[in-house]
């Protein structure tokens, strides 16, 4: 019985073995490709507006640019999303929230820094109340501009998709 051995089979820790097996399966070629394809066309950003670039982010979901064509659907909760858009400046107060949001999101998750402020502060680079997102979060794609045009947002999504499909971003590991 498993229970009597306190979760240990003769070969070792059951949970870890199962996880290893699952990771092995998920990292196998056809499964991995299908998985990466699915993830790349289902990038759902979380509703988290950090600053004013949210206006252009909203425009990129709106009829003229319609990012939903790319499988990009701004969605409600943190738990159901896999993409964090840093929409502009990250103030110190907001940075705490951003880290918190990022940690609460389920793996695999991606971060896009939108706008000059989300790269190096933009016009606010010397403000006393901002944080550079790349210092606190792993940012996968940067979009320059202040605010970037919705086309650039779409371009960033496409670039992120490409990177995911190349298998560079999603990896399941056994812990």
């Amino acid at each position: 019985m498993v229970c009597s051995l306190e979760g240990k089979l003769l070969v070792g820790n059951l949970e870890r073995s199962a996880r290893k097996a699952a990771a092995w399966l998920v990292e196998k070629r056809p499964v991995r490709d299908i998985r990466d394809w699915g993830i790349s066309f289902s990038l759902w950003p979380v509703h988290f507006t950090t600053a004013c670039c949210g206006a252009e982010f909203a425009a990129s979901a709106a009829p003229k640019y319609d990012a939903e064509r790319l499988g990009f659907l701004p969605f409600i909760g943190i738990r159901q999303c896999n993409l964090l858009f840093i929409e502009g400046t990250l103030s110190k107060k907001m940075a705490e929230a951003a880290i918190w949001v990022y940690e609460q999101m389920p793996e695999p998750k991606f971060v896009v820094g939108m706008g000059a402020c989300a790269i190096d502060g933009g016009i606010f680079w010397n403000s006393y109340n901002i944080v550079r997102p790349m210092d606190i979060l792993p940012v996968h794609v940067f979009i320059p501009g202040c605010p970037p045009r919705p086309e650039a947002v779409a371009q960033a999504i496409i670039m992120l998709q490409r990177k995911i499909r190349r298998g560079e971003l999603v990896r399941y590991e056994t812990r």
């Binding site: 107060k93 010397n126 109340n129």
Partner: protein, 157 residues
Amino acid sequence: MRLDDLRKEIEEKLNGLGAEVSSKDPNLIEVRVGRDKLVEAASKLREMGLDHVKAVTGIDYPKERFEVVYITSSYSDSLSHFLVNLRVSLPYDDPRIPSLVRVWPSVLYQEQEEKDLLGIEFEGNPRMEERLLLPDSYDGIPPLRKEFKVRVEGIDA
């Protein structure tokens, strides 16, 4: 109403409060009062129909004084063209001022902001203990003071 008429009216109304009234074209009137007469002067202006405050500006003159300017005006048709600045000087080492939140409820957040960013104490404002714009954990020189320096870069890389 003409600017001079309004100025005269204010001068009459504030008579005895030691207020200096001056005017500047085309529509600005400056009223300078002492800290102790501020609430009284404000109430008088309010009675005249200046019903809201557009902005509360705190200005820092290091080692010298603080100035607080209440830019007031009215939503009534006859007065809305004019701006009346109510200006107070405070000693630098004692930046306290009676709050005008009872006279003009619209200053609630503006006074709180000046306290938050400039460190001027508005006595009687219920929000003096809370931070408004800065993070709650902020502990340092109020950032709008001149002694608070921000980074600057030259034009060279």
